[in-house]
């Protein structure tokens, strides 16, 4: 057996972010090796909703999510059917008049980022989503937001990378990372050190095991999925207060976030809590989340819930992902800490990583994401 040629880049983690990096780097004509301790897309990628959404918690988040959504749009025509890619748009629901008055500013922000958005008043919202409770003040409709099925999207990105020469190793766990060097333990227990021009760590919540001290913690979320109710809702429905729930790191929070799947099923979210890595279902959180969902959409009460699960978002203290070179180890790059936006921002993150490794100018200002940035202390749970 001849030794495989030395890869230009080795990527740790074949979740959606690692997969997007593999695809972007393979398109740069680089020789890519991507490895994962488990199977591709089996971590947070498998647990998430798959909402491709522009978010405006900060200017940097807005820039990255808008870029990322554009990149998903470019891929849309080529994605496999199994990716279940659709464009239902997002309705940001304003429950009160006070919230409604904030929509103007949100629309203007989106507009400046090149993101189409329109304000729906009470009647227009009721007509668009008749199953929402009456009396909601209105909504901001973002028509180009998408929904896809993340595990298969990750798989598609990997296959597209493999088509361009990338190599995927499943069951290969990264044990240690050094400057341009990675030690892997294969499925049979064989230890191997791979040298590469660059090492990209896209290991989500497992990143700290390779990069001690990096500011990423697991932030647990719950989701409930229903049986099939086609037409119950048409767009992804998110309460305006969602941003607050996502932003505040203290304590547990839930927010109304409802997604129509292409199957007719409805995904009910969302929750956030710091609970270590305890994956068990927290009935109190589920109750809270479901109560909120039913309060917004009473018809949901009679729909059959068929499954509940949890997942762990890789969260950072300043709510922005870590994308760029790791200052302590030359040749080591980080693409991790995407919290609940990893599916959306995988493509943009990959574009930043690819530009960085290829030595090209980044498509957006990369400095807010640099892993070397000063980080506030993580708030206590």
């Amino acid at each position: 057996m001849t030794a495989a040629p030395r890869p230009d880049v080795v990527i740790v983690g074949a979740g959606i972010v690692g997969a997007a990096c593999a695809y972007a780097l393979a398109r740069e004509q680089l020789r890519v090796l991507i490895c994962d301790a488990g199977f591709p897309g089996g971590g947070a990628t498998a647990a998430g909703m798959g909402h491709i959404v522009v978010m405006d918690d900060s200017p940097a988040q807005l820039a990255l999510s808008a870029l990322s959504r554009r990149l998903w749009e470019e891929l849309a025509a080529t994605l496999s059917l199994a990716c279940e890619d659709e464009r239902p748009g997002t309705l940001w629901i304003a429950a009160s008049g006070e919230e409604f008055s904030a929509l103007d500013e949100k629309r203007a922000l989106y507009g400046r980022a090149g993101v189409r958005a329109e304000i729906l008043d009470e009647q227009t919202l009721a007509a668009a989503e008749p199953n929402l409770r009456r009396g909601l003040a209105g909504a901001l409709f973002v028509p180009d937001d998408r929904v896809l099925y993340p595990p298969n999207a990750a798989r598609w990105l990997l296959d597209a990378a493999i088509e361009r020469g990338a190599e995927l190793r499943i069951g290969s766990a990264a044990r240690a990372v050094g400057a341009g060097r990675l030690t892997l333990v294969g499925p049979s227990g064989a230890v191997e050190t791979v040298e590469a021009g660059a090492v990209v760590i896209a290991a989500g919540i497992d990143t700290p095991s390779l990069i001690p001290g990096i500011a990423i913690v697991p932030r647990k979320g719950h989701l409930v999925i229903t049986d099939r109710y086609p037409g119950l809702l048409h767009s992804q429905l998110v309460e305006l207060g969602y941003l607050h729930s996502a932003h505040s790191m203290s304590g547990a929070s839930t927010a109304f976030n409802l997604q129509p799947r292409s199957t007719g099923q409805v995904l009910i979210g969302s929750s956030r809590e710091l609970a270590g890595r305890d994956a068990s279902i927290n009935p109190a959180i589920v109750r809270d989340m479901v109560a909120r969902a039913v309060a917004f959409m009473p018809a949901l009460a009679g729909c059959l819930a068929i499954r509940t699960w949890t997942g762990f978002r890789p969260a950072t203290p300043d709510k922005l992902p870590l994308i760029g070179p790791w200052p302590d180890l030359p040749g080591v790059w980080i693409a991790a800490g995407h919290e609940g936006l990893g599916i959306t921002t995988a493509t943009g993150s990959a574009a930043l990583i690819a530009a960085g490794i290829a030595g090209r100018a980044a498509p957006i200002d990369a400095t807010p994401f640099l892993p070397s940035r000063p980080m506030p202390a993580m708030e206590a749970a």
Binding site: F39, G41, G42, A46, A82, P151, N152, R155, V224, T226, D227, A252, I268, I281, P283, A284, V286, R287, D288, V290, A291, R292, A293, V294, A295, L300, A301, G302, C303, L304, A305, I306, R307, T308, W309
Partner: protein, 419 residues
């Protein structure tokens, strides 16, 4: 609406094991609540419309149950289970049962192994067909092929014959040698032999073919013929209905949800019928398929143990039942050829219409589910999970609440817990 209710012993399932557990715990002075999804006590084995149809033993146990003071929550689903804590949904809404001890008597269900045509209309399970007939499905004059395994075949064939069905074939997949050895071992249980003979007499003109199984079902829009095989030759039998399954598998999901050790597909129990989780007991088919006699004695031990009473006097009888279960397992385990029936286009997950060629054996259950949706549907992988375990050796799907589909409102409290 959500309410709390505290009991000494909660019993999950009102079949023979559950009723026996409830009777013995209640007669020991414990406050007992039995929950069951169906409307009538008796479980699958004693499913009935008129109690007079049932064997004496069943009627006696039911009468004793009714007199025991145990509460029966019928038409009630268990959708979340932790030790000492059961979330149930009944006709009057959801209820939180706080129980000092829990007895799992969750029974067994049919094992469906996919073959071409198994999703055609009028192809049912073996026990499933019996249940439908008892619920009123008309089979008079219908030509029916039964292809199954184990002692369930005879009573089902008998039920069909008694309802006027024209049995076209009754096939046991286990080879003749295994069946014969099993039958020979029944001299120790003359009652079981006599019962089998009584059932057989109701369809005595129909050949009982051992070492024979259905290979495929064919027809336009519904099943019209079954292709049977004995491994060397194959032949076609015209029919209107097919009952096909491959014996029973223990229903262990509630045990899994409670964190009980599952060993070789059954809820593991000690001599007192206690599971690996203190205060959680199990009895009947969920601890291994052994029939109603074993279930009744195991239920008795579990009920007494849960109520803090000794039960050693019953151990010897229970152990005989366990030995019978082991003989059943040896005799009627699925033959390897059943695995080869499914072709590339055979549906392996009915809920999500997943074909065999959409799956790859090297995936485990979770990767397979995520990639193909197999097991994601409303049956929560209860049907395809066993099939995929058989076809690929995949592990059982994980169990998470809700244990059965329930309305979203059942997951919601009377008022939000927090702001």
């Amino acid at each position: 609406m959500s309410d709390h209710h505290a009991v000494d012993v909660a019993v999950v399932g009102a079949g023979p094991a559950g009723l026996s557990a409830a009777v013995h715990a209640a007669e020991s002075g414990a406050r007992v609540t039995v929950i069951d999804q169906t409307w009538h006590a008796g479980g699958q084995i004693w499913r009935h419309r008129d109690r007079a149809e049932l064997p004496d033993e069943a009627r006696a146990l039911m009468a004793r149950f009714e007199a025991s003071g145990a509460q029966h929550l019928a038409g009630t689903s268990l959708f979340d289970a932790r030790p000492g804590h059961l979330s149930v949904l009944g006709p009057n809404g959801s209820l939180e049962l706080i129980a000092g001890a829990v007895v799992l008597a969750t029974g067994a269900r049919e094992r469906f192994l996919p073959f071409p045509g198994w999703t055609l209309p009028n192809v049912f399970g073996v026990g499933g067909l019996q249940a439908l007939v008892k619920a009123g499905l008309e089979v008079n004059g219908k030509r029916i092929v039964l292809s199954g395994s184990g002692p369930l075949l005879f009573p089902v064939a008998a039920t069909l014959a008694q309802h006027g069905a024209q049995l076209a074939a009754v096939c046991e997949q286990a080879p003749r040698g295994r069946v014969t050895r099993f039958a020979a071992s029944l001299w120790r249980e003359p009652g079981k032999l006599a019962q089998a003979a009584r059932y057989r007499s109701t369809f005595r003109h129909v050949p009982f073919r051992m070492g024979t199984w259905i290979e495929r079902a064919e027809g336009e829009g519904r099943v019209q013929r079954a292709i049977l095989t004995d491994g060397t030759r194959r032949w076609s039998v015209d029919c209107d209905m097919v009952g096909a399954a491959c014996g029973l598998i223990p229903s262990v999901e509630v045990g899994m949800a409670m964190g009980c050790d599952i060993v070789n597909g059954v809820v593991a129990v000690d001599a007192r019928q206690q599971t690996s989780v203190a205060g959680v007991y199990a009895a009947g088919e969920c601890t291994g398929v052994a029939g109603e006699d074993a279930a009744i004695v195991e239920g008795a031990i579990a009920g007494l143990s849960a109520a803090g009473r000794p039960a050693e006097a019953l151990y010897a009888r229970r152990d005989r039942g366990r030995a019978f279960a082991a003989r059943l397992e040896t005799a009627f385990s699925p033959r390897p050829e059943l695995r080869d029936r499914a072709d590339a286009t055979t549906i392996v997950c009915r809920c999500e219409d997943v074909r065999l060629d959409e799956l790859r054996a090297e995936w485990g259950a979770r990767q397979g589910k995520l990639a193909s949706r197999a097991g994601m549907g409303a049956c929560q992988g209860r049907v395809c999970g066993a099939a995929l375990a058989h076809l690929f050796g995949w592990e059982a799907p994980r169990v998470r609440p809700p244990l059965v589909p329930v309305p979203v409102s059942a997951l919601r409290p009377a008022e939000p817990l927090r702001d």
